[in-house]
Symmetry: C2
Subunit: 206 residues, 2 copies
């Protein structure tokens, strides 16, 4: 038991140390840092955390984080609304947006089918995906999930639900990462990358 000399400090340290990856020592360092700074710094931090949790919304269409009912991507007239990319969570949206290579819409599942963690299809935003396909003019669904057993299971489940609908289902390419050496690649990835080989010209404009 550490004696913090102040219940205010103790409470701030306890709250900070509930965050993932932050222990009591780090929490104390952060709290003492805030005490050294101007009061506006602590106020801005505290208020931004409270506002974030209380005011943020989830887009009614794609379930992305949003400041409005419909997110910026779904409401943008510049995006190609015939394409929907299915991802696990909003970090994947950020990663794909960062590439600058995609201008379609997204659909965030909010997780992945994982019987080990007790997550089934009903826990994910799959029904709303099917509703979108039935009611919007979507021509292609791009599955962009992790290449794990859970990702493959989720891919297959969604594929089975969608396969009788008039929509093309694709997955992002799996292959050797740019910069990787062949001899260190695992055999499944290497095998698939040979089976799914591309015309060389296709890679020239990337």
């Amino acid at each position: 038991m550490i004696n913090y000399a102040s219940r205010l400090l103790e409470s701030a340290v306890n709250e900070l140390s509930r965050l993932p990856g932050i222990g009591k020592k780090t929490a104390l360092r952060l709290a003492l840092h805030l005490l050294k700074k101007d009061p506006t710094v602590a106020e801005a931090l505290g208020n931004s955390i409270i506002q974030l949790r209380n005011e943020i919304m989830f887009c009614k269409v794609c379930h992305n984080l949003s400041d409005a009912e419909i997110c910026e991507i779904c409401s943008s007239p510049k995006r190609n609304e015939k394409l929907v990319c299915v991802v696990e969570d909003i970090r994947d949206v950020m990663a794909i947006e960062n590439t600058g290579q995609y201008n379609g819409l997204y659909h965030i599942l909010g997780g992945i089918i994982s019987p080990m963690d007790g997550i089934g299809p009903a826990d994910l935003n799959i029904e709303s995906l099917i509703r979108r396909i039935d009611h919007e003019s979507i021509s292609e669904v791009i599955m962009a999930l992790s290449t794990t057993i859970e990702g493959d299971t989720t891919n297959f489940y969604i594929y089975k639900r969608l396969k009788d609908r008039p929509v093309k289902i694709t997955t992002i390419a799996r292959g050797i990462s740019v910069g990787d050496e062949l001899e260190y690649a695992d055999e499944i990835t290497l095998g698939r990358s040979i089976l799914n080989r591309l015309p060389y010209e296709n890679t020239l404009d990337a």
Copy 2:
């Protein structure tokens, strides 16, 4: 530039990443963690940070953090008020309190003399220490600063200011850490620990 999809999220990530040791990626992880939890978690965290900064006080006697004008240690009748331990900051108070071996009072300098960082004696709580010695019934000042050049400089400066006053000045023992092997100890520490050797019986009750 990451597209956070939400200005609320972006602002929370920016504020969190101002904390020492927290970059944008960690800040995003923390923000998304808070979004998954109950709103009360974010509210408790945010409010504890704001309260900490706005309501905390510094003890008027020893400059320790406190919820009142005089801290718990200074106002406790159980502490030996003839002893004052001089430390650099409040983390040292916590460390010494944790040992359970000290029941005197403290005096927090709020730093250490460091010409390299532009910190001189006037920037530290040294005058208030001298006032305490002149007005309280203190018989011993224990210097408990780091064993660095800055710590030694500060020790020497305070020693010079106090040496004509009727107060004993001591420093915490320097020597081989418990559990350390002699062959890896540096020669100054080892040399001092021989010069400052103790009667063996003194170590038995520790």
